[in-house]
Amino acid sequence: MGSDGGPVIPNFGHGDSCVTGDHTFCWGWVQDHWGDTLGPALWQHVELTVIAVVIGFAIAFPLALLAHRYRRLEQPFGALSALVYTVPSLALFQILVPFTGITWTTVEIALVGYTLVILFPNIVTGLRSAPDEVIEAARGMGLTRLQVLMRVELPLALPAIVGGLRIAVVSTVAIATIAATLLPKGLGYPIFLALKEPTPFKTEIYSAGLLSIALAIGADLLLVALRRVTVPWTRAAR
């Protein structure tokens, strides 16, 4: 590549006219670099997202149960998680680096923080959505507090919980692209690399961006399907 002193043209694979001319979208490049760039980046992105949402849910759920049981905890929990949201994600990574280094952990801590802000209030709202008379009837029939939670409040909270998961997943897919500013991981990284070039290669930016959008939509559809399975009663028409 350009060692003979000629013009330096980055070698994007085939080096066909589409790539060398930096046309809008080169399908050939996508095929060539699926194996070494896009595929792994997509997989890393899925990992980043799934880990963040799973850990976020694992933290938000018990906190929401506590806030539901002891109402005066809701305000402080809510305020704390909202505080995280006010910090710009780029800055949050940098704030964490001195403590956790330039690591996967740093990225996940930031992503988990954002999922908390979405999941916690949604789960709390869901748990509160059982109408008073339904709770009264349940208690009057002799359900214990735990049975009211397990058999009444939680099932009725499912639509709100799945709704929260949908927002959390979609926004995490988007925010996770910024992880590339710290680590060579995820769909943000190809975009990040391309942008560093004096003339950013369009196909690389578009293909990674489109994959990120497709991932968000795909995950959302999956959760919509989950909702249909778990809450059959909301579909029952008169």
Partner: protein
């Protein structure tokens, strides 16, 4: 489980925090087993509070409530509640469960097997006038009247000896309410449970109850007696006002012409239109006489003539 329970309120008092007047003030009441007892009164009379004390949804300050001689505060809470059917105005069906699952709530808590739960749900659907196929539907698919039928079925599921009903028909339209009132009377005769029924509607109280407890503001028991005795002799001005000035007519509505002494057949035979069936209330018979400008009516049981009912004899019934 016993067929029907006897409930005793023994000097029960409840005061809500921050309020001067008691919600329930030294209430003593004996409800015999199998009775249909209506708690009635204006708002602030503590009738709902008194009802919810029985299944301990509301704690009380002093006194004692006994079910079949057992102090409710010494019974395990869940056991107490699972042994009492509970029906409320807003019904409170579980929206995420089918009708069948709703009805089987207490049987499930009691650990009945699935087959027995299902069989019981179907049996109860039929008892309350719904279709067995409704078991698979969700509450949102039913009308208000149908939902309250399910509420009643759910309360009866584990065959409890006592039913608590808090204005169960208050949110229904008049036609549906009347139909359910009639059916609940029939159901009470058939299943023989003790029922404590709260309403603010004195008409409903007189129609439904075989005993009526009238509570006045501050949770004081004003009178506790049969509907007929309360209409005949209101304990004080408050009760007299509460039951209304037409109490004589209301009393006439409590009896049918088949139940009162009749005269030997007289002139009514000559006028074939002037007759009533023996299950007509005295009140309606009097109304008919006024309308027909007749002094007497023949009373028939099917084709058989039982005797003659005379307008002049009405006052002797009061």
């Amino acid at each position: 489980m016993s067929e029907a329970a006897e409930i005793v309120f023994d000097h029960v008092t409840k005061r809500y925090e921050g309020r001067v007047a008691a919600a329930v003030d030294d209430l003593s009441l004996e409800i015999p087993s199998g009775a249909f007892c209506v708690l009635v009164g204006p708002s602030g009379g503590g009738k709902t509070t008194a009802l919810k004390m029985v299944n301990r949804l509301i704690p009380f300050d002093s006194g004692e409530i006994r079910i079949d001689g057992r102090n409710i505060e010494q019974l395990p809470l869940t056991e107490l509640r699972r042994g009492i059917g509970y029906v409320i105005q807003q019904i409170g069906l579980f929206p995420h469960m089918t009708i069948g699952e709703n009805i089987a709530t207490v049987p499930r808590l009691l650990g009945w097997d699935k087959k027995r739960q299902r069989a019981r749900s179907v049996e109860l659907l039929e008892l309350v006038g719904l279709d067995a196929s409704d078991a698979a539907r969700y509450p949102s698919q039913l009308s208000g009247g149908q939902r309250q039928r399910v509420g009643l079925a759910r309360a009866l599921a584990a065959d409890p000896p006592l039913l608590l009903m808090d204005e169960p028909f208050g949110a229904l339209d008049p036609i549906t309410r009347h139909r359910l009132q009639t059916e609940l009377r029939r159901l009470h005769r058939d299943v023989g449970k003790t029922i404590i029924f709260v309403t603010h509607d004195i008409d409903e109280a007189i129609q439904m109850g075989d005993r009526i407890a009238i509570l006045r503001e501050g949770g004081v028991l004003a009178q506790y007696d049969t509907p007929d005795a309360i209409l005949a002799q209101p304990a004080d001005d408050f009760v007299a006002k509460f039951i209304g000035e037409d109490r004589a007519l209301r009393r006439l509505a409590l009896r049918t012409v088949g139940e009162v002494p009749l005269r030997a057949p007289g002139i009514a035979f000559a006028v074939p239109d002037n007759w009533v069936a023996s299950d007509t209330t005295v009140r309606n018979a009097v109304s008919l006489m006024l309308e027909l400008r007749a002094d007497e009516l023949a009373v028939k049981d099917g084709e058989r003539i039982l005797g003659t009912f005379r307008l002049g004899d009405v006052s002797s019934l009061l």
